[in-house]
C-alpha cells in the first residue's frame, strides 16, 4: 500500500519503513519553536527535570510575539526569563517586534520540505505549506521535546482537498479558507492530515497559501501539506535536489478526496461565535462596525496590507471606525514602507501597530468594549476573544478595508480600482 506525504514524513522521522493510520510512533523533531504565551510554562516544566540539557539548541527557537513589545510588567518578566533560559542553553531568541512565530520561521527558512516541526502555537500547521509536517503542541509537551528531541505521534488518516479554478475579481485566499471552514465545520477534520493541491495554488504566493493552511487548524486538522513547487523552492532560494521532497504514492490511501471549484466564490464572512460560521458577504452587508483590523499569522501578510491599500487609497476611514493594522512580521512592515503601501494606509487613517499576534490574541491591542463589533482578518472569533461582549466577524483584507471606509460590513468588489503603490 502506498503512502501519503504525511505518512512518509512520519515513517522517516520514526525510522520505520512504513506506517499505518492509527499507529503510534516516537518521532524525531527537526525544529521546535516556543512563543512567549506558552514559553513560561515550558520553562517551568523543563526545570523540573533534574540535570537535563536541551537536546539540540540549534533546533530550538524562542519567539516573543504574543505580548510584544512587553505589554505588561508580567509579560516583561516572562520575556526576561525566556531570554535568560535561551542564553544559558545557547538558543536563538527572535526578539519582540520580529513577528509571529510561524511566519517568522517561514521567512527565516526553517520551514523546509520533509521536516517535522513542532511549535507551541496551534497555527503551526500553516508551515505545512512548505511540504513539511508541522503541528502545534502544548507547553509541557514542548518541555519534553526540549529534553528528548522526540515526540509521540499517532499516524493520522489523510484527506485530500483539491482546489480548482481561479479566484474571481475581489476574492482572496482568505475567502477560500473561510469557504473550507464553512464546509467542514469546527471538528470534521479533527486529527486528520490534509493534503491540498489543485490549479488554484499556482496562482497563490507562499503567504497566500499559508493563509489557507493556517486556518486548517480551525477545522481540527493535525497537519496540512501543500505540494513543493517552484513557488515554494524560489521562496526558499533552493532547488529540489537540495531538499527532501516527498510526494504521495499513486496508490496512497485517502480517507476521502474532495474537490472545490473556487471560480464562482464570493467574498466570505464568518459571523461571530466560530470561524466556521461562513456566509457570503451579501448576507451580512450593512452590519454596523466599530473596529476593522488586519492582524494575525493568517491575515496580516504583505498581500493583505497591499489589498487593503488598493481599497482605501485616496479615501478616509469612517470617522466612527478604528482601523487597526498589526503586520505579522517586521519584513512585512519594511516592504510595505518601501512600496508606499504603508503611507497609503496611514493617509487613509489606519493605525499601524508593531508586528505581533496583535488583535488576534485580542487582549492587548485593539480590544472591544461590550456590544462593540469588529471585522477582522484574524483567525478566531469566539465569544469574548477581543473582550467580553464584543462581536467579531472574520473576512478578507479587502472586505475589512472596504468596511473600514463605510462603517458597516461591505462587499469590497464595489470599492476596487486604482493602484495602491506610491502616492
Amino acid at each position: 500500500m502506498g503512502l501519503t506525504v504525511t505518512e512518509k514524513i512520519i515513517a522517516n522521522k520514526a525510522n520505520l519503513a512504513t506506517v499505518t493510520p492509527g499507529q503510534i510512533v516516537e518521532a524525531s523533531v527537526d525544529v521546535a519553536f516556543i512563543h512567549d504565551n506558552n514559553g513560561p510554562i515550558t520553562l517551568k516544566q523543563f526545570s523540573r527535570l533534574p540535570r537535563t540539557q536541551v537536546w539540540d539548541p540549534s533546533k530550538v527557537h524562542f519567539i516573543l510575539d504574543h505580548h510584544s513589545p512587553a505589554t505588561t510588567h508580567r509579560a516583561a518578566q516572562h520575556h526576561q526569563n525566556i531570554r535568560e533560559f535561551a542564553f544559558k542553553y545557547g538558543i536563538k531568541v527572535w526578539e519582540v517586534g520580529r513577528g509571529v512565530s510561524h511566519p517568522v520561521m517561514a521567512e527565516e527558512g526553517y520551514a523546509r520540505p520533509g521536516r517535522l516541526m513542532v511549535g507551541t502555537d496551534s497555527h503551526t500547521v500553516g508551515l505545512g505549506t512548505f511540504g513539511c509536517l508541522a503541528t502545534g503542541i502544548g507547553s509541557t509537551e514542548m518541555a519534553g521535546v526540549l529534553a528528548t528531541g522526540k515526540i509521540w505521534l499517532q499516524v493520522p488518516e489523510t484527506i485530500k482537498i483539491v482546489l480548482n479554478g481561479h479566484l474571481p475579481f475581489g476574492v482572496s485566499a482568505k475567502d477560500v479558507a473561510l469557504l473550507l471552514l464553512k464546509h467542514f465545520g469546527p471538528f470534521f477534520l479533527n486529527y486528520m492530515a490534509v493534503e491540498m493541491e489543485g490549479d488554484l495554488l499556482q496562482d497563490l504566493s507562499v503567504e497566500e497559501r499559508m493563509a489557507i493552511t493556517i486556518m486548517g487548524l480551525e477545522m481540527g486538522v493535525k497537519n496540512a501539506v501543500m505540494p513543493v513547487d517552484d513557488t515554494v523552492l524560489n521562496y526558499l532560494r533552493t532547488d529540489e535536489t537540495r531538499e527532501t521532497v516527498y510526494t504521495a504514492d499513486n496508490d496512497a490511501r485517502y480517507a476521502s478526496i474532495l474537490n472545490f471549484d473556487v471560480g464562482q466564490l464570493e467574498p466570505m464572512v464568518a459571523t461571530p461565535g466560530l470561524p466556521t460560521n461562513g456566509v457570503t458577504v451579501g448576507e451580512v452587508e450593512g452590519t454596523k462596525i466599530n473596529q476593522a483590523t488586519l492582524g494575525s499569522c493568517s491575515g496580516a501578510f504583505y498581500h493583505d496590507l497591499l489589498q487593503a491599500a488598493e481599497i482605501v487609497k485616496g479615501k478616509k476611514v469612517h470617522p466612527q471606525v478604528r482601523f487597526v493594522i498589526v503586520p505579522n512580521t517586521s519584513r512585512v512592515v519594511t516592504r510595505a514602507a518601501q512600496t508606499g503601501v504603508l503611507a497609503t494606509l496611514l493617509e487613509a487613517g489606519a493605525i499601524i501597530s508593531s508586528p505581533s499576534c496583535g488583535t488576534c490574541a485580542g487582549y492587548e491591542v485593539g480590544c472591544l468594549a461590550p456590544g462593540e463589533v469588529c471585522i477582522s482578518t484574524t483567525t478566531r472569533n469566539m465569544e469574548g476573544r477581543m473582550g467580553p461582549g464584543g462581536k467579531i466577524y472574520l473576512a478578507s483584507a479587502r472586505t475589512v478595508a472596504a468596511s473600514a471606509l463605510t462603517g458597516y460590513i461591505t462587499d469590497p468588489r464595489n470599492h476596487l480600482g486604482g493602484d495602491a503603490h506610491g502616492s
Binding site: Q23, V25, L49, N190, G220, G362
Partner: protein, 213 residues
C-alpha cells in the same frame, strides 16, 4: 501529587459542543501561571460561576470538540487546579487532548455517557478498567482505554514526572508501537465522508456552545 487511576465520586458539570480554550481560560488571563489564579478563572468564558461551584473530584462533561482553538495548556491546567478529576466528552480537539494527559488530567471520549448523563449526577471513572459508572442512574459505560504510556502519565501526574522516572531509571523506553484506531482514541463519533450528509441533516447547532441538559 500522583493521581489515581480511579477517581473518587464526582459531580458532573455538563456543557455543549465546541467549548473552546477561549471558554475554558480566556486569553486575557494568559500571563497567569500560578495555580490559584488559573483555578479562579476556570471556564470564565462559558460559565462565570464555575470556579466557585466546582468541588475537588468533579467531572467536566462536554459534547463534541472540547478544547477547540488555541494550544494554551493553561486550559487543562485551570481545570485540574480547580479540582476537576476528569474530562469526558464526545470528542476532543487534538492539542487539548494531549495537553490534558501531559498535565495529568484524564481525557475520555464516551458519547453514550455524555448523551445520557445529567448535570449534578454523581459519577466514578476507572481509567485502568475503561469504565464510567453513573452512580445516580446506576448505569455503567465502557470506553476505549488510552495506551499504556498515557495511563502512566496519569498515574505519575503528567509527562514531566513520567520523563523524570525514565531518566532516573536510565531507561530508554519508546512510547508507541501500539496500534490503536485513532478514532477510538480521541473521538467516539468519528465521521467518515459518507456521513457528511447525515451530520448536516442532524441540524445540531454547532455555532453556539450551549449547555445541553
Amino acid at each position: 501529587m500522583a493521581a489515581e487511576e480511579k477517581t473518587g465520586t464526582g459531580r458532573v458539570w455538563k456543557y455543549g459542543d465546541n467549548i473552546s480554550t477561549d471558554h475554558i481560560l480566556p486569553s486575557r488571563f494568559m500571563t497567569q501561571v500560578e495555580p490559584h489564579e488559573l483555578a479562579a478563572n476556570c471556564m470564565a468564558g462559558a460559565d462565570r460561576d464555575f470556579a466557585k461551584k466546582v468541588k475537588p473530584g468533579d467531572v467536566l462533561v462536554a459534547g463534541y470538540n472540547i478544547g477547540y482553538g488555541s494550544s494554551r495548556e493553561q486550559a487543562p491546567q485551570a481545570l485540574k487546579y480547580a479540582g476537576v478529576s476528569a474530562v469526558i466528552a464526545k470528542s476532543f480537539a487534538r492539542i487539548f487532548y494531549r495537553n490534558c494527559y501531559n498535565v495529568g488530567l484524564p481525557a475520555i471520549s464516551c458519547r453514550e455517557f455524555v448523551d445520557e448523563v445529567s448535570e449534578g449526577d454523581l459519577v466514578e471513572v476507572d481509567l485502568k478498567e475503561g469504565s464510567i459508572t453513573n452512580k445516580t442512574t446506576g448505569k455503567s459505560y465502557h470506553f476505549i482505554k488510552p495506551p499504556e504510556f498515557l495511563l502512566d502519565y496519569i498515574q505519575l501526574g503528567g509527562l514531566i514526572p513520567y520523563l523524570e522516572k525514565l531518566m532516573a531509571q536510565g531507561v530508554k523506553k519508546e512510547r508507541g508501537h501500539t496500534c490503536l484506531s485513532e478514532k477510538l482514541l480521541v473521538t467516539s463519533d468519528y465521521c467518515r465522508t459518507s456521513e457528511v450528509g447525515k451530520r448536516k441533516s442532524e441540524k445540531r447547532d454547532r455555532n453556539v456552545p450551549q449547555k445541553i441538559n
